[in-house]
Amino acid sequence: MAISEERLKTGITPSETRPLTVTEMEAIARRLRRHIVSMIAKAASGHPGGSLSAVEILTALYFNVMRHNPREPGWSERDRFVLSKGHAAPALYSVLAECGYFPLEELSTLRQLDSRLQGHTDRKVTPGVEMSAGALGQGLSFSLGAALAARLGLQKYHVYVLLGDGECDEGQVWEAAMAAAHFKADNLTAIIDRNEIQLDGWTRDIMNLEPFADKWRAFGWNVIETDGHDITQLLQAFEKTRNVKAQPSAIIAHTVKGKGVSFMENNPDFHGKAPNKGELDRALKELE
């Protein structure tokens, strides 16, 4: 599915043009998954598990929720999406390319010398990338800065930030969580990709996060839990964050690591391992 010329000109802004239907977005999500496994296989390295788990979240944001303009990535009024879990860069690159920030063909240059698609995001070189990430735990603080800048400039944009659940082991996440509530950043929404797996294994075994939602609530956040692969539910969750005042929102999106590829699902081995040729063929077949 390509974005029409008209939509590219006006920006993908749900308020101004027809938002995509859930069925249309589900088709895009399948395309994103195919891009992700293909580009990681080509690069022969990368992180498929946490990229695949975030696909519906990114699709809902970029094709329905956010106001942004692929023709003008630096548009000052754009809603910001900050990828804090930088290893999910293939998911972000895929959705940016589908939106038209850069050509789809460029996805196959992931991780190659002189490519604009670095192994982890680099905001200097990739159109549409808000933050250079890869060292976990910093995106929420960065997003809070962007949210405070909106307030100072009397701007209306909203800041969305995607964190991994394993990433929430980092102490800085909780420094930022405390500060965002303290500064009453109601134009900030954190989405946590709760796929329950980190590199070394299940989060409950490596570093238990529970009671996870209670932690965010205790830090002063408006918390919504949802199925992170159900676009309808995700849209409802984003809707619920919109009119919250004086409080940041956290959407805990329950997801499956490696979602969509049977042998990657719930398999910690595919946190940071590329599929080989045979695995890629199997994956693409499943994603048809």
Partner: protein, 314 residues
């Protein structure tokens, strides 16, 4: 001669207020030390544009990065021992790598912090800041230069690390001095030997040069307030014209001014160099004067280093 001393931190705080009046994009962050870093002046006048982040330096510098990415000009302050040290990865990843327009102004650099002891003595901060690609690193030598360096940082795109010390310092520049990034200042002429000093050590360097003058030694004193980008030409010129160099800094011998000067000298015009700096050790509690004396950072230490380097020059 009575020398007027002034607080660099106080001048920093006042300059921020002036900048805040001129430019609504100036914002200031602190991590619960605003009464020591003197960002409190700005907080009082512009409460909406001041963010006290509590005792959370990693969060503070990354919030600053987010503000900069949306067009603000953030000044983030705490003690030099906490930034860049405490939050080095955040400074590296969120500010240096994306080359964002964040100004880190750290006070309480070096051992002249005094009685608080080694936990509060930043003796490696310059090495850390200098290691980051694209950072501008400045150590003003007096309050007059502090104001100019802070103004320059506000109007110059890119990340800055400015290190200020706790004690008041005598003025070392004439009234017509103009700070420029990457430009060293010759604060005393001389052709027998050059002392290249930075920050709080410029004063003792001048004192040493005056004492040596009485013995007939013409000692040039260069204030190297910008450590990065480095004024290599001034160093090469000093090596060529005076044939011997002493560096003086309130920092470990490794990775600071001495290391920078040695690299330039060796690569361009090798001459003997001596280093006045903190040797491979942590300091301790004491008054600033006691500590500077114990750890070899006085005018007398510079004089001794000059004599050593002149012996090697022969």
């Amino acid at each position: 001669m009575a020398v007027q001393e002034a607080s660099l931190r106080d001048k920093y705080g006042q300059t921020l207020v002036e900048l805040g009046r001129e430019n609504p994009d100036i914002v200031v962050l602190d991590s619960d030390l605003s009464k020591s870093t003197m960002t409190t002046y700005f907080a009082r006048e512009f409460p909406q544009r001041f963010f006290d982040c509590g005792i959370a330096e990693q969060n503070m510098v990354t919030i600053a990065a987010g503000l900069a990415a949306s067009g603000k000009i953030p000044f983030a302050s705490t003690f030099a021992v906490f930034v860049p040290g405490r939050c080095f990865d955040q400074v590296r990843m969120s500010i240096a790598y994306p080359h964002l327009n964040v100004k880190l102004v750290a006070t309480h650099g070096g051992i002249s912090v005094g009685e608080d002891g080694a936990s509060h003595h930043a003796i490696e901060d310059l090495s850390l800041a200098l290691s980051l690609p694209g950072f501008t690193v400045v150590v003003p030598a007096d309050a007059f230069e502090t104001a100019q360096a802070v103004q320059t940082a506000a109007s110059t795109q890119g990340p800055f690390y400015i290190r200020l010390c706790r004690p008041k310092l005598p003025s070392v520049y004439s009234a017509d001095y103009r700070f420029m990034v990457g430009s060293a200042a010759t604060v005393k002429p001389g052709n027998d030997v050059t002392v290249i000093a930075t920050g709080l050590m410029v004063g003792p360097a001048l004192e040493a040069a005056t004492a040596l003058q009485a013995e007939g030694i013409g000692c040039r004193v260069i204030s190297m307030s910008t450590l990065k980008p480095l004024d290599e030409q001034a160093i090469i010129k000093a090596a060529v014209e005076t044939g011997a160099i002493v560096t003086a800094e309130e920092h470990l011998a490794h990775g600071g001014l001495g290391s920078l000067v040695a690299q330039v000298v060796v690569g361009n015009h090798p001459v003997p160099v001596e280093f006045v700096s903190i040797k491979d050790t942590f300091a301790q509690s004491g008054t600033a004067t006691q500590l500077l004396e114990k750890y070899g950072l006085t005018a007398r230490d510079i004089e001794r280093a000059v004599c050593s380097v002149l012996v090697r020059k022969r």
